[in-house]
Amino acid sequence: MINKTVPNAESATKDIGSNSVLMLGGFGLCGIPENCISALLTRDLHDLTCISNNAGVDDFGIGQMLQRRMVRKMISSYVGENAEFERQLLSGELKVELIPQGTLAERIRAGGAGIPGFFTPAGVGTEVADGKEQREFDGKLYILERGLIADFALVKAWKGDTAGNLIFKGTARNFNPLMAMAGRITIAEVEELVPAGELDPNHIHTPGIFVQRIFEGKNYEKRIEKRTVTP
């Protein structure tokens, strides 16, 4: 079995250069590649394009990359909860492309699956449809959306094995398995890395073929954005 293990986040991400297109897994702060982001923060990078459902908060996740002016463009479905983001956007330092969440997910899966375009009803009649081909199927209108790929996909899983197979936990799965499919180089960080053969093949969410590098992350903060409890 092919071994995809690399020592740590620094070695896994060392060839990510300025002007790269990155995908970063996660929904809010749930399931984000904390170790990879920390490694990037130590580097002198700029003009990155980041494809991620959200943009983190001011002092965590992609928000920290924004603080260091590493990002030129965000491609996301929702970018609230981030004052520095808003400042850079209004000042023109940062560009944002907003995409309906389901379209974003499907575009990423399509990119990974070799599908260059598909039709979706999301956005018909809205500014999202501007400039896109619109077509009727069985009496309903759809717009043509394109597959998305990235130079590097940074994903976070719960468990992984040395062959690159990944298992996610809870709602930390979200965009991670899709982005794993769509990275030219996919880097997976996992909370627990086990030898190939220890994961049940029936339980694997992301087959190792999609993962080029894997490492066991450390010091996961897993910050909670909105702690809400039943009293």
Partner: protein
């Protein structure tokens, strides 16, 4: 006039046994608290969960288990977890039976605006455009008028559109209204103490009033 809790309670009565339901942020989230106990329904969270339960106890809080509003949550028995493309496959494929969400404006042909105010910071549409483009059955929860007293039930939406011809029902602080397939807001129920004339005066779009309009009872 209904308060937010009463809007949620009134919407909860529209829920039918066996439905899969997606609840938006705000008043729609409150609806979960008032679903009649005898109904078996399943709540979908578009970030990847079927079987949304109540907020967890302090000791059950799990950073890896949140809802689409990013709040920590619990799962009910029989839940399933999945990725975002599977989640929107459910939504886009028409497998979710009922979508309840907030709005800034609704037009008399069922268009909805709820994602963008020109001149203000735009946070994004999240999953709203997918939901409204796909759902067969959409109920909107909102105030009848803006804080400035402007009607939010319009002939045409003035704000950027989220989706066209999609809203089925609206519950406001003043009324329960259905959007007719051929267009027009048909008044079904009045909030307690609210007159038909008041609703009429606060609805800019075409209001259809047929027969006696009953008052809601809570």
């Amino acid at each position: 006039m209904l308060d937010k809790i009463q809007i949620a309670k009134r919407i909860a009565r529209e829920i039918k046994n066996g439905q899969y339901i997606n609840l938006g942020i705000g008043i729609p989230t409150l609806v979960a608290n008032y679903i009649p106990e005898e109904l078996e329904v399943v709540l979908q969270s578009e970030n990847g969960l079927l079987g949304l339960g109540p907020f967890p106890n302090e000791e059950e809080v799990d950073a890896d288990l949140i809802n689409a509003g990013k709040q920590t949550i619990s799962m009910v028995k029989g839940s399933a977890l999945f990725d975002s493309s599977m989640s929107f496959a459910m939504i886009r494929g028409g497998h979710v039976d009922l979508t309840i969400l907030g709005a800034m404006e609704v037009s008399e042909n069922g268009d909805i605006s709820n994602w963008k105010i020109p001149g203000k910071m735009v946070k994004g549409m999240g999953g709203a455009m997918d939901l409204v483009a796909s759902a067969e059955n959409i109920i909107v929860a909102m105030q009848h008028c803006s804080r400035e007293g402007k009607s939010k039930l319009l002939k045409n939406c003035t704000l950027p559109i989220t989706g066209i011809r999609c809203v089925r029902k609206i519950v406001t602080d003043l009324a329960l209204i259905t959007v007719m397939p051929e267009g027009g807001f048909r008044l079904l129920e009045r909030a307690p103490g609210v007159s038909v004339d008041e609703i009429k005066s606060k609805t800019e779009g075409r209001l259809i009033i047929e027969g006696e309009i009953p008052e809601m009872v809570f």
